[in-house]
């Protein structure tokens, strides 16, 4: 067995990651691999930085190879090691930190760097580029406190950055040098449609904007244009293009043009040195999308394992990854001599399609609004299909061309097995269909796990779902609604809607009218229905006691041994000697085994016997305390910090606001639990930025946050808005909660609801539309009059007395005698 050769890789981006994967498949033990990477991370999916920025994904979601992968494959990964020299004679590379590594084969994968326009002020803090996770982290930090951002560059990256920053609550302006956006991928019409769409989302777009200077003293304050206009901003993102990182190769004496020159086998001018990715120039082209890079990766894996292959440059397709915007472009769509175009517009539906043909072949396609046929067109462009027979109906897509009926799956079913469905991961139709059939796959997640299709940027998700439908027929339904439970086929959304539409007002009514499949429901649907009825018909619906989980029936938390815990409210975390004394007395009197400070700034008494609950409550009530609803799908705690009362940094009365919110909102039932917090300044000692609703007080008022989580999922909040007064803060929070009460699915926390309905729709309803906010507020106040009765006091007064005493005591002692 030959000794293992040494393979050194410079750069650890997506391209070399794929090359190594393929290499380990083809020749698992051929090389000892060492990777040098300037970034301090493992390999991650750069394409998905935009979803991380917009908050749809976390960094963990986009890691491609975790540390374990390197370990399993015996790869030495040197994180944070930049290579500064290649010595081709000695066959070594040297890192910034002085590490020298010998190689038999070298793979250069240094990627590219963002172009920085050298206008005055480009070095000010607050000027960022958009390339790696550090950039995204810096943008997220800047966005935390809102304010204005300018994005220079209206191409793919710039627009994704703009949408992400907007999503995070910033006021965003895009400056673009050309007359229309994304001019390299879109024709002017589609560029205009895109501009209008972005503007309708509240992003300002200035085209033909020539940046003269970035202004600011110690930190960015704005951008001045050549025409004199100044756009204020605390954050400037430059996304004006990329430049291959070829300097290292040039210094080593390799042939370099714009990028490192390679032949079809991906070898540089030194046959022992390969190059892959965005640092490469092939046939006069450099690359900025992963699909061709992955093809290069495959070619290199073949070369390194001794089987030659050749890279061919082919047409590319692009999609913009901004949720809700559908656009697709492929090939060459410029006008030109001998070229024809076919255009289809449907203004009402916001659809625009344009195909460019030369002779009998398609050269390019631009689709806006309805991109379903994109892959079908792309396939014909790549394969140079003769379209003369179908030309007349071509633009209507495969559904019409084939003369078949127009169903949504037609486009996909018309594709050949070799058609590429997932560009990111290079997965073709045949492979997906095969995996579904052979692996018995039934869901999108299954397909992702088995084939990687749709696992990266996700823009092919619709196609993969259509393939599932085609392959499984009725066994898969792309629009499949998840039924509320096994008693019904209806989803939470349907049930909520039908309760209102059919004016259903009791649990049995709902089960009858909506044709429940079980006679009495189950432990999942009963509490859900009870909540929906309660929130839709306040004041009218009588709570169905037997549909509630035990904790909400007895207003305490059941413990593993069948005893209960009792948590009284401590408004905003404040307490007093009188309350503490009452708690101490109760603990002694009822022999309560454990007392604990909760994570919610109050006190928990654990191990209370069920029979003792009314007595415990009675004594706590006497000291002025009420139930803390620590058991309920309801308002839990409002944590606060000491604020202006005591703290030298406090900007507003955070404790006072927290108490005000809690006193106003306690007792209200919600789809899932609701936790809030108010911090007196951005130091955020009340941890408001991981709550369902949080407030950060600032000098100028109140920054309202929502949709955070710190339980099963960890998620920082989104900024909803900034308001100047405490009254408006309360009104906004109440309106937000009411909207959630009306729209949320049972057990769906605020962050999941927000993700489902879209943060923008919530902002529109609660912040932008003043009338609607007032109406939501009123509806909450109305329902509160039926909710703000202390459940403990009611039970001390005898409500549900049967709960707390056994029906009989039976002893067998006498019987035995």
């Amino acid at each position: 067995m030959p000794a293992k050769q040494k393979l050194v890789v410079i750069g650890n981006g997506m391209a070399p990651g794929r090359a190594l994967e393929k290499l380990f498949e083809a020749a698992p033990d051929a090389f000892d691999v060492t990777i040098f990477n300037a970034e301090t991370r493992t390999n991650y999916d750069r394409i998905l930085l935009s979803p991380v920025l917009s908050g749809e994904k976390s960094f963990e979601d986009i890691v491609i190879h975790g540390d374990g992968w390197y370990e399993r494959n015996g790869v030495t990964l040197l994180k944070g090691h930049k290579v500064v020299a290649i010595d081709r004679a000695a066959k070594t590379v040297t890192s910034e930190r002085g590490i020298v590594a010998p190689y038999d084969k070298l793979l250069i994968a240094t990627g590219s760097s963002p172009v920085i326009i050298p206008v005055p002020g480009h070095k000010l803090p607050g000027v960022l580029t958009y390339r790696d996770m550090d950039d995204v982290s810096a943008m997220m930090v800047a966005a935390q406190s809102g304010g204005a951002a300018v994005v220079i560059g209206g191409g793919l990256l710039g627009l994704e950055a703009a949408a992400g920053l907007k999503e995070r609550g910033m006021n965003v302006t895009v400056l673009h040098l050309m007359p229309t956006l994304m001019e390299r991928q879109l024709d002017p019409t589609a560029g205009h449609m895109l501009k209008r769409e972005l503007e309708s989302r509240g992003i300002t777009v200035i085209t033909e904007a020539n940046t003269e200077e970035i202004i600011g003293e110690a930190y960015v304050e704005g951008v001045r244009l050549k025409d004199g206009r100044v756009i204020p901003a605390k954050l400037v993102v430059m996304a004006v293009g990329i430049r291959p990182n070829a300097a290292l190769a040039r210094e080593a004496g390799l042939e370099v043009g714009r990028g490192i020159l390679v032949d079809p086998s991906m070898r540089t001018s030194d046959p022992d040195i390969y190059a892959v990715g965005e640092c490469v120039e092939f046939n006069g082209s450099v690359y900025g999308l992963v699909a061709p890079l992955y093809e290069m990766a495959g070619v290199i894996a073949m070369g390194l394992s001794g089987r030659e292959a050749a890279f061919v440059d082919s047409a590319l397709a692009t999609k913009l990854k901004v949720t809700g915007i559908n656009l697709f472009s492929a090939g060459d769509f410029a006008e030109g001599e001998g070229r024809d175009e076919v255009v289809l517009r449907d203004a009402r539906a916001g659809v625009y399609k344009r195909l460019v043909l030369q002779g009998n072949r398609m050269l390019g396609a631009v689709l806006y609004g309805d991109t379903g046929d994109g892959p079908w067109f792309f396939q014909m462009i790549r394969e140079g299909t003769d379209v003369s027979d179908i030309r007349e109906n071509l633009i209507f897509g495969p559904a019409f061309v084939g003369g078949g009926k127009a169903d949504s799956g037609a486009a996909v079913s018309a594709l050949p097995d070799t058609a590429e469905i997932c560009g990111c991961n290079g997965v073709c139709k045949g492979k997906i269909v095969g995996a579904i059939q052979d692996g018995g796959l039934t869901s999108l997640d299954d397909v992702r796990a088995h084939t990687k299709a749709s696992a990266s940027c996700g823009s092919c998700t619709g196609l993969v779902e259509q393939l599932l439908t085609l392959t499984l027929g009725d066994g898969y339904n792309p629009a499949a609604v998840k039924p509320l439970c096994t008693c019904t086929d209806l989803s939470h959304a349907d049930v909520r809607r039908l309760i209102v539409a059919k004016a259903l007002k009791t649990v049995p009514d709902v089960m009858q009218a909506l044709e429940w499949k079980s006679s009495g429901g189950c432990a999942k649907c009963k509490p859900a229905l009870n909540y929906y009825l309660l929130s839709n018909w306040p004041g009218e619906y009588v709570d169905d006691y037997q549909s509630r989980f035990i904790n909400e029936r007895v207003h305490a938390n059941i413990q593993k041994d069948g005893t209960y815990s009792v948590v009284p409210r401590m408004w905003g975390g404040m307490t007093s000697a009188r309350e503490l004394r009452a708690i101490a007395d109760v603990v002694d009197k009822y022999d309560i085994p454990a007392v604990k400070c909760t994570g919610g700034q109050r006190i928990d008494m654990l191990g209370v016997k069920k029979e003792d609950l009314p007595g415990v409550w009675s004594d706590l009530n006497a000291a002025g305390m009420v139930s803390g609803h620590a058991y309920g799908k309801a308002l839990r705690t409002v944590k606060t910090c000491v604020g202006t009362d005591w703290c030298r940094f406090g900007t507003q009365d955070s404790t006072g606001l927290g108490i005000r919110i809690e006193k106003f909102m306690w007792g209200s039932w919600t789809p899932a639990k609701v936790k809030m917090a108010v911090s007196g300044c951005p130091r955020n000692c009340a941890e408001a930025t991981c709550k369902d609703v949080g407030v950060i007080c600032v000098d100028s008022g109140y920054e309202i946050h929502f949709a955070g989580a710190a339980g099963l999922d960890i998620k920082g909040t989104e900024v909803l808005c900034h308001v100047p007064t405490e009254d408006l803060a309360l009104e906004t929070i109440v309106a937000l909660t009411q909207l959630y009460r009306e729209q949320g699915h049972y057990l769906e926390r605020i962050y999941k609801w927000a993700k489902r309905v879209g943060i923008e729709s919530i902002r529109e309803a609660v912040v932008v539309d003043d009338e609607n906010r007032a109406a939501l507020y009123e509806r909450f106040v109305y329902s509160q009059q039926f909710s703000q009765t202390d459940p403990w006091a009611e039970r001390v007064d005898g409500k549900d007395a049967h709960e707390f005493a056994p029906m009989r005591h039976v002893s067998f002692r006498e019987a035995a005698e």
Binding site: K526, S547, H809
Partner: protein, 111 residues
């Protein structure tokens, strides 16, 4: 008919689709009344981790344990799949409104 029959109360004392506990020195017994009016008595101990079944949500002829959601059939005491197990049921007789239980299963075990 031999056995350890005792009167434990009346149907009216149990809420429909609810339950009550009968406390005995051989352990607790849960008595359920379904929405359809059937009455069942089973040991108040979930076969999983001894959760108090009397505290669960009653639906149809079944109860869901409050601790980890196992579902138990009230008539047979059997656990509904995918979980497995069985709770002891107690023979029950109705005399008009009055409920009588035979505790011999429990007591023999306790002895």
């Amino acid at each position: 008919m031999s056995g350890l029959w005792r009167e434990v109360g009346t149907i009216g004392e149990i809420p429909a689709a609810g339950s009550r506990v009968v406390r005995t020195d051989a352990g607790d017994v849960a008595i359920f009344r379904t929405a359809q009016g059937a009455v069942h008595a089973i040991e108040d101990r979930c076969p999983h981790k001894a959760g108090p079944l009397s505290q669960g949500i009653v639906h149809g002829g079944r109860v869901t344990c409050p601790l980890h959601n196992w579902v138990i059939d009230l008539a047979t005491g059997g656990v509904i799949g995918p979980d497995e197990g069985c709770v002891r049921t107690l023979p029950l007789r109705l005399d008009g409104e009055r409920i009588l239980l035979d505790f011999s299963v429990l007591v023999r075990r306790a002895a």
